[in-house]
Amino acid sequence: MARTNPRTSSFSRNLSSAPSSQSPGLKCGPNGTVVVSSGIPDLDKILGGGFPLGSLVMVMEDAEAPHHMLLLRNFMSQGLVHNQPLLYASPSKDPRGFLGTLPSPASSKDDKSRDREPEQEKGLRIAWQYKKYFGENQNNFDGNRDCSHQYCNDFDLRKPLERQFLSGQHVDCVSIQDSPNLDTIRDRCATFLNKLSRNDGSITSAGRIAIQSFCAPQCKYSNMEWDMLSFIRFLKSMIQSANAIAVLTFPPSLLSPSFSKRLQHMADTLLSVRAIPDEDKDMAKLLTGYQDMVGLLNVHKVARINTQVPLILEATTFSIKLQKHRFLVLECLNQAPVDGSSGTSYSKSSSCSGSSKTGTLDF
């Protein structure tokens, strides 16, 4: 009696604007939203499916590490693989050059290493009282394993994206370095989003906006804090009525604390990346897997559209690892076992242990 749609309430939404199966880049998310993938499978799982359409995602950079670029690269590549229009703005003189560093989806033989994980889980023995009433536990994240039609691809950071994806007319780049104020980027965003405005019909495609290092010091408007804030308000209001997602990264250390807080409040989904010290013995003792970690990702806020219920995550800090130097993986932090802890709660088991048939079961 396996169910395909896990229901959380007795009401079911009339999903007339549900994305058809022809658009693999879109999926139904919780609470009647449509989500797009972030390009990182682990991040999609953490956020409950992906980034909801019409939301603004902000990533707080760390001045000492370039991890926000990893997130941006995966996000942009995922959009290009799904043929979604993309607008990229950056404070460098030649933003087009960055497109050459976008990763390509991993080929299927590399996927096998990730396949092993769900199989192991099926072999997990669960002693559950009501197991006899339910069938096999359903797994929502499979689909067809075809690379181009997969909702979220595993990106190989060492393989550059094929030219065919970059040459479409729907890829637009803006340099925000030389403009004296935010008008250029505001106009470009407006024209981009006007093409994607939401109407009652079904959603065929979604657009992605990626703005990198929004208040970088070399931009002439970087002192104009109120102007930057009003640009973000403008972007947020336009995005809410369009089938698009915007991901914006900014370095909070370069803003005054009050403005940094104001910008953070504007975000629907707020993430931050942090650098970790190199060859730190204390940290190596405290965390397992320290050798493979390159940084930390914190989830501060998750977008909740159409609902009042906040998403409470099991963990908000994840370690960023590069598997085989190629695949971006996010993992929960595991603390290394500490000596001499938690011995007392197990000491009153003497009355229970006599009846167990095998030795090691202690309550």
Partner: protein
Amino acid sequence: MAESICRTLRNGRLEGEHAAALTIKDTIASPFGFDVFNHVLSQLSSFILAGKSQSRGVVVVAFTRSPSFYVDLLKRRGIDVDASKKWIRILDCYTDPVGWKDMLIECGSLSQEASTTARLCKDVRDLDKMCSSIVELGNGLIGQVKGHFSVAIDSVSVMLRHASMTSIADLLNNLRGHDQVSSIFWLLHSELHEVRVTAVLEYMSSMVASLEPLNCSANGQRSELERVSLLGPKGKFHVRLKRRNGRVRVMYEEFYLEHSGINFTSLSSEDGLVYQGLVPKVQFNLQLSEKERDDRAKVVLPFEHQGIGKPIQIYDGRKSLTESVNEATAVSTETLQTAGDSSNGEIIYFRDSDDEMPDSDEDPDDDLDI
């Protein structure tokens, strides 16, 4: 460590990356940043002359000292300055930064001096022109061949007197992104500026070297005598190096000043860095060793044998039922026998609780089926 930053500057940039950038930061408590700057400059110059570095020349943008000072400095350090035209150029922003001498020369009160190793910059407020002058000087060093040069900026603090932070950030970013610049370093007196300025410059650099006084605030109070000795030329040298993979290498050293220059030694007492704020409450490790995995596989879980056919025994938190049944029969046979004897005083004890039916509503563990 000072050696590693000099080595990083020497190695320069990789293809497609920005140039290596170093910020040397000092404070009033430890005002020896200029000595560190000179040390780095002379090290880099010796690398250039030995041909070991990626850059073939260095352009010094001098704000706080005259060009002749640098020439003398390098001579004192034993670096061959006679061939200096081939590997060093100095942009002189010290002699006449805002062009006043020009005006005085026009009035006839000063005579013009010409300088051969340095080019005079008459307007430090025009940063675009300064950038192009630096690039021109660098190109003059390299010549027609494709190569790299390094840039050393005497003091960004002085630049900030004349120009805005944004334009300086623009200049530094352009220099860093320029194909022919292999490394760039600058000095900053952090207490002269707002925190934001320091944050911006640290953001733009790949290495930050800061000079701190020897006693940390954690040590609390010190006697007057010790404080006086701190004014002597010693301090702590703290380097944060951003690696390509996104990790930050943090290094500590002690430095002391001598007549000939500055020397670095490793720190005598290790300051353990505890990153307590960085690591949140984490979950425990759930990995198992091989032996633990085997043991776990052997355990029969509670509801697994439900369909096997043995009668299901519900555990009620006391001795197991079979045992207690056996015991009860044993006891009862014993009592029967002893009742038969009945000559000795016996205490016949029947546990009251054995008569009770196990009530599964009281204790959820009662449902456990072991």
